[in-house]
Amino acid sequence: MAPDADVELVARARAGDRAAFRTLFDRYNRRAYGVAFGVVKNQQDAADVVQEAFIKVHRHLDGFQGNSSFYTWLYRIVMNLSIDHLRRKKKVTEFDETVRKDDALADGATLPQSAHENPAKAIARKELTDQLHAALAELPEYHRAVIVLREVEGLSYEEMAKILKVPKGTIMSRLFHARRKMQERLVGYLDGDLKVTE
């Protein structure tokens, strides 16, 4: 049986169908989290953003006209909340940077995915992830937003333009600049053997 279309799930959720809302949540939570994490660069902050985004979605289901796709609407909320979150945190940038680096070292995000993983591979994975996060963190937020929407979500230029409310040409410019910066920053990793995800 074909999965229910988003628009149908939205209609049912609007009528109070909890299961329909749960299906929407399950369908998009990981992707929304990936987008939020790509921008805020902190796991707890990303979780807070996604949680708040789905609460907002639920509260404004009546206002969803269906003119855009549900995920476009959701990602716009996620992106706005992520950027708002970053701007609030800018007041404590230096302190935040210190904590973030400490968190990155302390949390399990870059540890081996399983106890059976090759230790050398785990170290390579950790180093790669750390470098990637560091490179992403050096990008301006508007570059980070566009590269995450493209590389994680696979959104088209047109869809990104709608979500970020900027012209399509601006999206292209930002994306190409962001990629070039990341490639320059990660040149040693992108040219070598990256087969650490097997």
């Binding site: 949540f25 399950d26 990936g34 994680v152 990256l194």
Partner: protein, 196 residues
């Protein structure tokens, strides 16, 4: 050999080029190691970002998150105005009583002032109307008296409506004070001065 422009290579990588342009880029890539390497670098960057995203997402307890979302979406019934005022008063009395007593005192004073003004205005209205009527009558009577006085200044009051009260000696002149009866039953004194 002319390499693929950065914009075109990015658009080709993202599947945003028109089919004819995409075919042209593909033909170039087939024979250009440098451009192929640039494209491979883009692909590896995408894989790294995806891997990182999936990794961090795999550690999130989305069931627990959904529970918090549901908690956040429970819309508490909106209390009525009286309930909200009661709640505000209760909380304020506990934490900052002046927040209640200061405006309450001000409101009481304002209410008292407004009540006094209303009472006075309603009383003044009645009294005012009476006063206007009374003053109108007095003015009318004075006008009548003035007319009578003028008459008296020209001619001595006739015997029919005047009674002599007293004769007055002014030194070089003499005069008579009359009490003249008016049409409404009242009377007014009139002084008649003899010219000679």
């Amino acid at each position: 050999m002319e390499h693929v422009q950065e914009d075109a290579l990015n658009m080709h990588f993202d599947g945003e080029l028109a089919p004819t342009e995409a075919a042209s880029v593909e033909r170039h890539l087939a024979s250009c190691g440098e451009c192929s390497k640039r494209l491979t670098s883009m692909q590896r960057l995408r894989e790294m970002i995806l891997m990182s995203s999936e990794q961090v997402a795999s550690e999130v307890d989305f069931d627990a998150m959904f529970g918090r979302v549901e908690q956040g979406t429970k819309i508490a019934p909106v209390p009525g105005l009286i309930d909200r005022i009661g709640l505000w008063v209760t909380e304020s009395l506990q934490h900052n009583p002046m927040r209640v007593w200061a405006p309450a005192g001000g409101l009481a004073l304002a209410a008292a002032a407004a009540l006094a003004f209303v009472l006075r205005s309603s009383g003044a209205g009645t009294e005012g109307e009476d006063e206007v009527a009374r003053r109108g009558v007095i003015a009318e009577e004075r006008e009548i008296k003035r007319e009578k006085m003028m008459v008296a200044e020209n001619d001595p009051p006739s015997e029919s409506n005047a009674s002599e009260v007293v004769q007055v000696d002014f030194g070089s002149n003499t005069g008579t004070v009359f009490e003249i009866a008016l049409a409404d039953g009242a009377s007014t004194p009139v002084v008649w001065i003899n010219e000679d």
